[in-house]
Symmetry: D2
Subunit: 370 residues, 4 copies
């Protein structure tokens, strides 16, 4: 077992290539993990298209579960203090904050730590330790990584089905500050929107309204407990959608609106869906999708709180794991996974995600073909 | 004393006219006040130009101090519980919230009460009680008005020099939540900007940076204690101004940026002046100044809190009065008044404000000519 | 219909007497309501025993539902703006804040308004309008009362089963600020404790632990979804109970502990159940139950937030009504009512509550005997 | 230079002894500092008396400034990112949180990190590296220490005059959340009280009232800008002192009361000095001073927020340094130092602090005798 396979993004917009790299020996504090499942996130599609400035070649994949193959000296506990041993099933945060910089230590904004680099995004794979992305047989965990042992009663499919969307949503809803019995609108029914719905419902929301599409995603939103869902393919204009929200909120607008779309015009539309003094979360704009014509008067006049939230902290991952375990009946995140591929079919997997055909595609390196 | 004079906006963009109206007898809870001084707010210029949809004719003026001429039955105490008698020098909030509606009682956003109408803006003067604006010999205070007796050691010029800008700023800074030793940027050096500077400095700000113009306003900002002032006529591009703020903040941006300009591009520029995780107050957009090209990605990426604030509550007026009295040496609001006019020269007064020649113009109905 | 019956507390610790009083005609803004059901609160027992300083005679009862019999001029809408007509089933807040005082208007603490007097507690009944308490055939609603029309699909028994305990708990939990996925301990399994459990669970709590008794109340706590319940009759020492909480919380203590007991030693015990940096709500000490030996060092060392909360605001009542309607399957508040009495058996009703035999006793003036 | 002198607490309540220990060579990330000045904190007196459970022998002193003598490999920047070189004048936090535990990483309460040990308190000095306290010629800084280079225009006497009292107060006031124009009472005029006064005044407080003693400390409070000071030797009963506060606050009590005394009865007294809905900080109870008879009803009835705060974080030290530098004219912390001793007179220094004769005593190892 000297080398292992990885699927590599070598050129934007071109097929991923299969490569073999030598397996690293874990240094102190590090670990080698055998990949069980890697999620494909919408961001991977943006990366593949070259819409974010990254240095190639890269092994994509920042949502991963695996089993510990080797443990470096000193790595004997997970982030929560649980003992770690060979064979344990684990997940981890894709990025690690330094804990010492201006943003980490002084301003308590660790997700904005300039020293963060994300697995599956920010590391070239043509240098050791090579295996720093999910689309591969193995994943190397560097010293300092935030690793989480998974409880036995939490299926891997729940963890990957939730993916980075859930932890992103947990952080965003935390910053938004849902109040008890708030009426909440979620713009977008993709993984982030569905996650934000689940988190908002358990953070105090009473009435929930999801506006998005297509139909199968809205069906999933209803399974997750959305009280009202509206398909943007049917309710086609912002004005109509704003009117519907007002109608469902006594004419005032929602207490909180959570943007999980990533489309700039959705922000303009969503602010109008807030009641005066309401809260508006801009969560979906992880990527730069360009400008929109916007009138700042609305923020003053409606006395809004507009909140941004970037990525997540390890404590959100810990919360997510406990949440997934204890609410699996209410929120079937595992059913978000609709398509499974082995390592040789990563291109098909990416294409499926890119086409919005699925809720979620995953890579299973050892997938047994039926 | 059966009639009194008022200066009336009868047609947009046309000279104000002098009219005589019968003086009302105060009904229960009401009062008649003899105007001592009425401030001219930048909003009055917008109203005169017809930029806000109001029903004419109107007596302009929503920043007023006067002496009680008659008290209606039952009005024996001011908002703070102090006894009221004939002759007392008073001011009042221009608008009164109902205290019972969805916004007042349920959502605690009384400044967004739909039942508010503002003196000097929202009342026709061709109907009794006619005198519901400041540019007149008398002002009628309707039942329920929030009236404040002024302490003897607080000059009228301080109150009107501060005007509605100060209470607006107090509310805005309260919502923003300045932290102890924050670095604060104020965009704009007009009355609202100067007020926001004074409030921010006493709410915990350490380093303060004012960006605006013209030179005489920046000079006033320095008298109010601004650590750094920059003239937009000299530092001409947003990029240069953003760079200056970053340079003064260790490369990160300010903890809080307070927009007191009302120009949409200032909002785009100001968000970039915030550090990640910082706070951005949109305070200057009381009027609709139209849209701007804006990229919502900045809110997510920088993890911003963007806050709107509309008008003010009576408790802010009470705070303002105590603040003006106890800090007059530090913050010379009275010196904001640079031009004085009698009732016959209201058009000149408005023109002076419109030309930005002054810090503040006021109407003094009984002004003694030198 | 010139007079009606009321049950009157004339002397502390003595049987209530039945009296007839003339029915008042509603003045403007007032209403006369025919009592359908009046709840008996634990506070009523304290009042009956003379443990609170009130002026007798008094008609007890501050949790009431009835049907509008007469409407005074001008009272045409309920607190939420819904139209009111004769026959409507309504409830109301027992006390009304003035909206104008230092606490109402300046400090936003309306429950501490010094002008509040509570129906069923603070009004003598030997003066008109007499009917200002629940244990009577009719209830007079004074001008300014906060009245709420009840939705048809919300049974009266749910409203009275929840009683003032629920609105008190809503206010208390709001002030405490439960965070998403907090572990929450509720001290006490009486009406306030059960209500606090329900509110905490829907405000974000994950694991919930109820410590109280007797067994039937803990059974009710489990029906309301408590994850763990402990009977103080079985786990007899504070140390044991603190140890149990620590064991269930990884050794640290709970994120939030809600005191709903009213016993001073419970406060000392409860603070030790908090994790460091946790939140402790003192909600049960509506009455003065005397002092306890307490070491303030614990607040510094554990870096606690200790929060008091008094009574509730009308918006909490509105929230309660919507909450009861939409969560009746999850939280069977109607089943809290275990004993029903007619007006002639108010003494038995009080005695039942005093003996803690029941979850909740109620008065139904027209109760049909089986 | 193989050994250096230290003053050592070997037995409680016995004179400190002078000892020589071998000087350590800095390991990677560590440093050796030549002590310029070490402050004597009231806690040192408690430690000397054996009132806190520590393992002897110990070099006392947890407020220290010195010059870098040797730098271990890799320690090239201070906590704020400034370059470090031999000879730099520095200070540091006495304790270091681990950054990884439940309290550091999950609950964001790093001051409650169980892995903290404080210099001058928690380290035996009979083992290498020996020099982990301030009363010595040298101080060793272990890897991971939070070290701060001092600006040239900030005198050492300001830093030590402020001592750990200032950073404790900064943290405490931050948790309390002073609002703009709050009336604030400070209980206690010792170093923590004076510091809390300075921080509260710059965090938004308007009227400030200090209650303490003796006279010279109250004189210092007035120099720091206290609007009112009251001597507990003159105003002898809690009731009188509470009445005075109420009189100065319109009969209501203060918005915030900061306990900086450490005496349990002060807590009972102080809560009554708060207005309803006010905030009460328990900051002075770093040590266990035993219980007091306390009625929890006051917390419910007055709807209080009671806040504990323990120690401080490195960011508070950074804030303190900038604060001291920029406000030295307003807040003469350097004048807090009233007594200076060399290493041979540590016992006299401790005795002076213990007798409350001084504002602050310090150790200057190289003190030149006049």
């Amino acid at each position: 077992m000297n080398t292992a396979k990885a699927t590599v993004l070598e050129n934007f917009n071109a097929p991923l290539a299969t490569r073999d790299y030598p397996l690293p020996q874990p240094e102190p504090g590090a670990a080698l993990v055998r990949t069980e499942m890697a999620g494909i996130c919408g961001t991977d599609v943006h990366l593949w298209k070259g819409e974010l400035p990254i240095a190639l070649p890269v092994i994509l994949g920042h949502e991963t579960v695996g089993h510990i193959e080797q443990l470096g000296p000193g790595l004997d506990k997970d982030w929560s203090g649980q003992p770690l041993t060979i064979g344990d099933r684990v997940t981890w945060t894709s990025a690690t904050s330094c804990g010492k910089c201006y943003y980490c230590a002084e301003k308590k904004q660790p997700t904005r730590c300039p020293n963060r680099r994300a697995y599956g995004i920010g590391y070239r794979c043509d240098e050791p330790p090579h295996f720093l992305g999910g689309y591969a047989e193995f994943h190397y965990l560097q010293p300092g990584v935030n690793v989480f042992k998974l409880p036995d009663d939490l299926p891997t499919e729940s963890v990957i089905g939730a993916g980075c969307a859930l932890i992103t949503a947990i952080h965003g809803v935390e910053r938004t500050g849902i109040q008890w019995r708030d009426t909440v609108v979620v713009q977008g029914a993709g993984p982030v929107g569905i996650s934000a719905l689940a988190v908002a419902k358990t953070a105090g929301a009473a009435k929930t309204i999801v506006i998005g599409g297509p139909a199968n995603r809205l069906e999933m939103a209803r399974r997750f407990g959305a009280d009202h869902t509206f398909d943007i393919a049917e309710i086609k204009t912002p004005k109509e959608r704003i009117d519907i929200v007002r109608e469902l909120t006594g004419g005032y607008g929602a207490d909180a609106v959570l943007e999980c779309v990533g489309s700039p015009p959705a922000v303009v539309e969503g602010m109008e869906m807030c009641r005066d003094g309401g809260r508006y979360l801009v969560l979906g704009h992880y990527c730069n999708a360009g400008p929109v014509s916007f009138n700042p008067h609305v923020i003053t006049r409606k006395q809004l709180h507009v909140i941004g939230s970037w990525s997540s902290e390890p404590r959100h991952m810990k919360g997510a794991i406990e949440f997934l375990r204890s609410t699996h009946n209410q929120f079937p995140f595992r059913d978000m996974i609709t398509h499974r591929f082995d390592l040789n079919h990563c291109n098909e997997a990416l294409a499926t995600t890119a086409s919005w055909q699925c809720a979620k595609s995953v890579i299973i390196p050892r997938l047994a073909r039926a």
